[in-house]
Amino acid sequence: MYKSVVANIRTNRLLHEVMLELTFDCNLDCFYCYNDKNANGKPLSLDQYQVLFDDLERMQVLGISLTGGEPMAHPHFFEIGKMARERGFVVRIKSNGHALRAKAVDRIKQEMDPLNIEMSLHGATPETHDRQTRVKGSFERLISNIRYMKSIGLRTSLITTPTAWNWHEFEQMIDLAEELGVRLSMQGPVAPRDNGDNEPLEIQPTDEQWEAVNAIARRRQLGSRNQRETLKAPSAQTALNYSANKVPKNCGSGLDSIVIDPFGEVLTCLHLRWSGGNLHVQDIDTIWNHSPVFGNASDMTERAFAQFGDQQPSLFGAQTFCPAVQINSGCGGCGGKCGGG
């Protein structure tokens, strides 16, 4: 039945999910992080988040995801999460897991009651995981924190991006997730940074490495994140099955969700960072309903997906496809801000 809702959402462009990049600060230093750590601007205030949530509640938005950088590095992380819960949003947290120690986790459970906390897994061993995070001890800390979260009944999940540094541990990562009792999904491919820096692509798996990863994923029935999400309107591959409902065949960009950066820029998605406006200047209702950017993003991604016909969309060997990553990798310039022109 949820399929019919997704069709309704996308056909009528109903804003359903909002991802808040609370800060680009982070307590880890992941090699392939796509954030532009030099980005700056006037951060949204707590009062502005309150106005935003009031507007989004009125617009019947269901989900709020708190991400970053590391969202817990925001000085008002707990207040923002609590406000979201009080307004009836389904709250999800996307974290590296490093700061999710018992005291913080207890507070999150009490004040935010999140549907899920998603954390990044970079390897199955401390050597591999810590090599990517560039913080010694981050693997052991993550595993310990997950065990605690599980013990108090918090729903958690892990996400991994296959790289040239960790692909050989892919099956061990699946085993580890199973031992922890946590769902693991994968995303990818590695993307350029939002400032156009292509350095992360240095650890893109080779075609052969992707082939090995994909074979394991198929054998172990591991889904990509978008296939496994329970709330986010399914995108990419799943969306391709909605043609009977006349739903645009694309990833949902511009149709059902937005990203808001720490400085109030309202963006079409994490990687396709086309701005529809800024919350310092306009309210979210005006931006979503009047900016042409979202329609342009939807049209562009629909064209991009059309190249695959009925084939499985893929990019760099990954069995997922992101038009923005394709654009950004080609020009290495502006992180999509140019509009791909």
């Binding site: 949820y2 019947q60 269901l62 009651d113 709330l231």
Partner: protein, 95 residues
């Protein structure tokens, strides 16, 4: 069992999506889709929390007899309890 005072669970969230409603039970991680009437009942529970007020309101809105509405509302309320979308209201501590 008939419940006169109704209360949305603190673990449940819902929103309208066009003419339908999406309900999420956070504790179970389950998503449910309800039709327009089901959504309206949830909105009325949130507004008034009174079973009889909900039945009266729906009878007016759908121009149908309250006995018929009452039976359907009661069945639906039982389902909502089973889904964990409704919970018993907290009782006062001054006994």
């Amino acid at each position: 069992m008939q419940h006169e005072t109704l209360n949305i669970s603190s673990r449940a969230r819902f929103r309208s999506v066009g003419s339908e409603g999406v309900v999420v039970q956070v504790e179970r991680g389950e998503v449910m889709v309800v039709n327009g009437v089901g959504l309206r009942v949830l909105e009325l529970v949130k507004e008034s929390g009174s079973r009889s007020a909900i039945i009266q309101q729906l009878s007016r809105e759908y121009a149908t007899g309250s006995a018929n509405v009452a039976q359907q509302v009661d069945d639906y309320i039982e389902e909502l309890y089973a889904w964990g979308v409704l919970e018993q209201p907290e009782t006062g501590s001054g006994e």
